[in-house]
């Protein structure tokens, strides 16, 4: 019994000792490897950067010696760290060196790995390396069974760029059950103007869902070459297309589209009218002021709100139109006008005249306050009646405002 106990204690001790040894040796080996890696990095990084900043055609000449197998991972890390932090010539040179050293070839092979994380990692690195010759491999990876691999391949295609990369990404827009439209839209928009020609070409074959996303991309890319095409889309039979085309024209900001957008303010579908109003505000299209003022009476809230916001952005004509709307028989128009005049700071600016010597300005301020009161918009006025810096303004406002119903309640 005693002997069995001693043996079991001894066995446990040996196991613990063995485990401790494994941990200590493992840690020491890891630390030694990391220290070696840091030393290699300290030696190689300045050479890599000298190559990136310089004009030497080949990295090998700058490195000055062949790279040992154990150093390849450290060198790769240096390249990957820097290539994603710069653009322009430096980035091109670093990407070219990655190819020259055989890393791109490794990544291309890695996209075919049986391990999905290796495929995803290699796809991502091909994007960082800007490896345009890997476009075909990345396009094939868009059909990978693992969504993470597909997404990284899509991002890599966006980073590699070029017309060949655009079409497969547009096809991905057509499959909302497999792809996040927002992510693909972000990738395509990030590719900039090279997507425009392909996108316009592919547009007729896209689903309605993809067409709407494509119009958003055109707006985000702010492509002037697409303006004429987008103006034509304002006459599309699909209301969603007309609305998104109007939105895109607003994002691009070309005043050439002003007349077409004013016409779209009369569209029978309210989303189109709302988007056209918003776009005209972004364009600061002053010719649209009379029609936008009419839309303050639209039966849809979004249209009224966007028209009022657009008028706010176009002083002085837009502000004058909002002030006229304070006397409008339509209560909705008066309400929107009040909100925007408050937001534009016009209310605060005008009521300062309540304390001034200018008779007509004071009368105009009194009239403005009365119109706000008649429209039931007294919240901001009550705040100013309490906190305005000029005592005369506070007392004049207190005299003009009706009793606060909230205070009258028991």
């Amino acid at each position: 019994m005693y002997r069995a106990l001693v043996l079991s204690v001894l066995a446990t001790g040996i196991v613990f000792l063995g485990l401790t040894l494994v941990i200590v040796v493992g840690k020491a080996w890891r630390e030694a490897r990391e220290a070696r890696g840091r030393a290699v990095r300290r030696e190689l990084e300045p050479r890599v950067l000298a190559y990136a900043h310089g004009t030497e055609p080949s990295l090998m000449a700058v490195l000055g010696r062949p790279i040992r197998r154990a150093e390849r991972r450290v060198l790769e890390r240096i390249f990957l760290d820097h290539v994603q932090r710069v653009e322009g010539i430096e980035r091109e040179r670093l990407a070219r060196a990655l190819d020259e050293l055989g890393y791109v070839e490794e990544y291309v092979a890695g996209v075919g790995s049986p391990r999905w994380w290796r495929r995803a990692e290699c796809a991502e690195r091909l994007g960082l390396a800007g490896a345009s010759r890997a476009t075909g491999v990345l396009i094939r990876a868009l059909d990978d069974e693992v969504s993470e691999v597909r997404l990284r391949a899509a991002k890599a295609l966006g980073a590699v760029g070029g017309r060949a990369a655009v079409r497969p990404l547009l096809r991905a827009l057509n499959e909302p059950n497999r792809w996040s439209t927002i992510r693909i839209g972000d990738i395509l928009a990030g590719m900039g103007s090279p997507v425009v020609a392909e996108l316009l070409d592919a547009f007729p074959d896209l689903s309605l869902h993809a067409k709407v996303a494509a119009l958003d991309i055109l707006g985000r890319v702010r492509s002037l070459e697409a303006v004429g095409w987008l103006r034509a889309r304002l006459g599309d039979r699909e209301p969603d297309i007309r609305a998104r085309a109007a939105h895109a024209l607003g994002q691009i900001g070309d005043l050439e589209a002003g007349a077409d957008l004013v016409e779209a303010l009369g569209d029978r579908e309210w989303p189109v009218r709302a988007m056209a109003a918003k776009a005209l505000g972004k364009l600061r299209c002053r010719q649209a002021v009379p029609r936008l003022a009419e839309l303050l009476r639209d039966r849809q809230w979004w249209v009224r709100a966007n028209a009022a916001e657009a008028l706010r952005l176009m002083p002085p004509a837009g502000i004058e139109a909002l002030e006229r709307a304070l006397a409008d028989p339509d209560a909705y128009a008066r309400h929107q006008a009040c909100l925007m005049l408050e937001e534009a700071g016009v209310l605060e600016q005008r009521i300062s005249a309540l304390a001034g010597p200018d008779g007509p300005a004071r009368e105009a301020a009194v009239e403005l306050v009365r119109r706000f009161v008649a429209a039931g918009q007294t919240g901001r006025l009550r705040e100013l009646a309490e906190r305005h810096q000029a005592a005369e303004v506070r007392s004049a406002l207190a005299a003009l405002l009706p009793p606060d119903p909230a205070e009258a309640r028991p």
Binding site: E45, P46, L49, A50, Q84, R85, E87, G88, E90
Partner: protein
Amino acid sequence: MAGKTILVAEDDRVTLRFVSSLLEDQGYAVLPAEDGRRAHELALTQRPDLIVTDLLMPYEDGFEFIRRVRAEPALARTPILILSTKSREEDIVLGLEEGADDYMVKPFRAREFLVRVRKLLERRRGAA
């Protein structure tokens, strides 16, 4: 312009090494700082000819660092270039309003960065 001293405040070591090597290649002397507090100390003691700063840094962010630099009479005219991943219009406007002279968004083009650095140093020399 070679021989001028440039303070680089950047908490990302890879970017700090890249920017430092880029400037040193052009003959500038670089004072590296990995946080806003250290950058402020170096600015006060070393009086650099130009400051390149990130916005997101530990202890003292770029905005605070710029405010404190501008509050020092001896540094009030030192050109400041912000180099940040923050690309929103509000951040750029705020950075310039706080007292920076120029703003670049990361990832950046090295050659464009060097031209901006040179122009800022020339402008300072012209104003001196």
